[in-house]
């Protein structure tokens, strides 16, 4: 480890970190935005969920690097290529959790809302979605952590990210760069993870602090 390398390359490190954060966070957000309507439909209409979940399982099997490459003819060696490929990946992780979270809302709760005069839309927005928040965020956490880590692969097709430090470090036989890349990616992922935990706590104040309800469905998201 050569600490003196860091001050001289501060702006490079900062720029790569920013690029990597962008390439990791945007796909998770896009994945969430696409997952919500699809997940709501799949939870609502029983016939809609098997085909959607099957498509998601197959898409999940497609390697990110292969998807980067498949998108090159359409989008070139750009950020867009990486963001779209990782969005597909994030979608596959988040969508099953949206469905599972909404399905896990207990029937008596739904009936109570209806009895209080809530229409379907109001019930969805004010009762069902808030109750599904922990499970949805569990999926989002997996999505964001994975895509931050996977974004480094974008460097293989020349899209700038912290992966640059790995490749440059290997070519120059200079482990310092690789250490820095590894540490920054892990720190970046953990920071995003913590932010999501904070958001979940803010959105679900009724839950006890040491709460692990998202846990069981985390597995299903891993499984998807």
């Amino acid at each position: 480890m050569m600490w003196s390398w860091i001050p001289g390359n501060w702006s490079l490190i900062w720029q790569l970190t920013w690029e990597n954060a962008k390439l990791g966070v945007l796909p998770a957000l896009f994945g969430l935005v696409i997952s919500l309507p699809l997940g709501i439909m799949a939870a609502r209409w029983r016939w809609f969920s098997p085909p959607v979940l099957t498509v998601v399982t197959v898409l999940y099997a497609i390697p990110s690097l292969a998807l980067f490459i498949a998108l090159i003819p359409a989008f070139g060696l750009t950020d867009t290529t990486v963001v779209i490929a990782l969005t597909v990946f994030a979608l596959c992780v988040i969508l099953p959790n949206v469905v599972a979270g909404l399905r896990a809302v207990p029937d008596p709760v739904r009936q109570a809302a209806t009895a209080m005069g809530y229409g379907p839309l109001r019930r969805l927005v004010t009762v069902e979605l808030p109750l599904a928040v922990p499970v949805i965020i569990a999926g989002l956490r997996v999505g964001v952590v994975s895509s931050i880590s996977l974004a480094s692969l974008g460097q293989l097709i020349g899209v700038s990210s912290l992966g640059y430090l790995f490749i440059d470090g290997l070519q120059r036989d200079f482990p310092t760069e690789i250490y820095i890349g590894l540490v920054l990616i892990i720190v970046l992922a953990l920071v995003c993870d913590l932010i999501l935990v904070g958001i979940r706590r803010a959105l679900t104040p009724w839950q006890p602090r040491r709460e692990r309800r998202g846990r069981a469905v985390l597995v299903r998201s891993v499984a998807a």
């Binding site: 990110s64 690097l65 490459i69 880590s149 790995f166 482990p175 590894l182 692990r212 985390l218 499984a223």
Partner: protein, 228 residues
């Protein structure tokens, strides 16, 4: 030209099917690079997951660490080991084992931890030893989830074994990395298509395995659960 026409032209070119470094050879090498890490990860993570699920000890560790573990970039680990160890077996093996452990561990743990308390009590009440409880009751009930974990890891490993080519090894990644380096899109597209085909085959293989291995009673229950 689109991805598929590039990939198709390259895959159907008969010259790519013969000689050293041909498609069949690299596919076999790729399967080799994938199988060994998966096996090692399974040997570590399945017993560990079952033990943690059964005893409840270390559960917090699994829940908290599994997600952060995914943050470790395989490419970073691979290049780091390449700098220190050169092209040894560990250089490609270790990153892939690290990649494969979390899904297997989490699913094995959740599968066993999620067994109904009534079922566990019944097993105990019948006079089963703890070993029998685990091997005859808890593990079989957890089997569908254990298979899901193995499937996820297998797909990850098949997808990621591609980057072993980055440090000069064989496998389907050879076509991708060499093609990228020489600006030839044909082998890049063809290699990627073959990786996708392998990954989908792995998916199908596990669908078949779960039909074969999961006890009929559990499958019937899962069906009931779905229609309730």
């Amino acid at each position: 030209m689109s991805f598929f026409s590039w990939a198709w032209d390259w895959v159907t070119e008969s010259a790519n099917w013969h000689g050293s470094g041909s498609i069949p050879q690299q596919t076999l090498a790729h399967l080799g690079y994938s199988f060994l890490p998966l096996l090692i990860a399974a040997l570590i993570a399945i017993p560990a997951g079952i033990a943690i699920g059964h005893t409840g000890r270390g559960a917090l560790f699994v829940v908290n660490v599994a997600n952060s573990w995914r943050a470790i970039p395989t490419l970073g680990l691979l290049t780091l080991l390449a700098v220190f160890l050169g092209f040894s077996v560990l250089t490609w093996l270790l990153p892939l084992v690290v990649l494969a452990i979390p899904p297997i561990l989490v699913n094995a743990y959740e599968g066993v931890a999620g067994v109904e308390p009534d079922v566990k009590d019944a097993a105990k009440g019948m006079g089963m030893t703890p070993w029998q409880q685990v091997t005859r009751v808890e593990a079989p009930i957890a089997l569908p989830l254990i298979l899901v974990g193995l499937r996820t890891s297998a797909i990850f490993v098949v997808a990621t074994a591609t980057i072993a080519a980055y440090i000069g090894l064989g496998g389907l990644g050879r076509f991708i990395i060499d093609g990228l380096a020489s600006n030839q899109y044909g082998p890049v597209a063809g290699g990627s298509l073959l990786v996708v085909v392998l990954a989908v085959l792995v998916l199908a293989l596990f669908a078949g395995l779960s039909r074969l291995l999961v006890p009929a009673g559990l499958r019937a229950q899962a069906k009931l659960g779905r229609t309730e």
